[in-house]
Amino acid sequence: MYAQLVETGAKRVKSLDEMSPEERAFQERIDAEIKIEPKNWMPDGYRQTLIRQISQHAHSEVVGMLPEGNWVTRAPTLKRKLQLMAKIQDEAGHGLYLYSAMETLGADRDEEIEKLHNGKAKYSSIFNYPTLSWADIGTIGWLVDGAAIVNQVVLQRTSYGPYSRAMIRICKEESFHQRQGYQILLDLMRHGTDEQKQMVQDSINRFWWPALMMFGPHDDDSPNSQQSMAWKIKRKSNDELRQMFIDQTVPQLEFLGCTAPDPDLKWNEERGHYDFGEINWQEFYDVLKGNGPCNRERIATRKKAIEEGAWVREAAVAYAEKQKQRAAA
């Protein structure tokens, strides 16, 4: 999940009888699976929740470039370097699709980015972990993008039209990311030295739990989920999505010949799902609050990029102005 703990402002979900006529018409439209478009009336809570969720999602795409950027100059071959750059460029594109969708709600991009910089807006906890080895690039593509896909495939049916359309576009591009990641790991496991195989296992050990945290807190601890589900912004609960991800990932893990750092992970014949151990939620909340291994570095890097790019944006405006005057003369 690229958006975790999105505040809806609702203590509990209103029944149709408690709603104003407009609100009721809106909810009935959602219940009938008709998409909400920018010019339709919507409750303020719906609008604000979407702005929070979409901006958090967009920030995640943008900050998500940073751990990968660490390996552009260190990629083992030119082919891998080109693939990694293509993936990073996609992430920038995904951020832009999402910022555009967010702007249709009347939010201002600069203001939302400022909220990221001053800590008011969040981004996915996963990008606060460092990429220590080349195997991490493979693991991120496979596990992190894999978890994002599980979430995003469902979000293609989200109730807000522009968000849904951005998700459809993103999902089309995302499977390349996961496959390139898995292939990196597969190559290391099949053709690598013992040290390289160990590097893969070490990378999975570090990213396994943080990847599971991407789906957010347990449903019982997620008071905002109910309202988001009623508005059909969210279509499946955090725990459902996490289970889906684990069920599809474990066979891939076994195919690699690696293990998960979870002694409780085992197939449950009765449930038809994998059982798994308890997530360290304290770590999740710590990272979300800004105390993960790389939080400060990530935000500092983003700020620096914006500040040091200011002259480029100013020059572009000055150039456009000059061209306009020349054309008029």
């Binding site: 478009e37 010019k39 339709n40 009336w41 293509a86 460029q89 996609d90 594109g93 832009l96 699709y97 555009s100 702007e103 201002d108 991009r109 600069d110 359309r165 951005a166 576009r169 591009e173 944006r313 572009a316 405006v317 150039y319 456009a320 061209q323 306009k324």
Partner: protein
């Protein structure tokens, strides 16, 4: 980015098909909007032609006036080919 304008992007996916709205970009001018649109929306051969239009130049129908605007077409079933029943002997028409 407040000083940059918003442009809507339309891409023609294959020769012969209509341009279709795909999203928007911010840019200082139309030429830059075109370059940004190319980088953002056609990284995988999605298009053979791009239009960029300042968002401010678009006049749109509002969701709320839906009934009034589209009402006139709703009771005119005779505009559809399926309204006209012909004998089977006539064959495909």
């Amino acid at each position: 980015m407040a000083e940059w304008s918003l442009y809507e992007v339309f891409v023609r996916s294959k020769h012969g098909l209509n341009h279709k709205h795909v999203g928007s970009v911010h840019a200082a001018d139309a030429a830059m909007a075109m370059e940004n649109a190319r980088d953002l929306y056609t990284r995988r051969n999605e298009g053979v032609s791009i239009w960029v239009v300042p968002s401010s130049a678009i006049t749109a129908s509002t969701g709320d006036e839906k009934e009034a605007l589209f009402d006139p077409s709703e009771d005119k079933v005779y505009r559809h080919a399926s309204f006209y029943q012909l004998p089977d002997e006539v064959g495909h028409m």
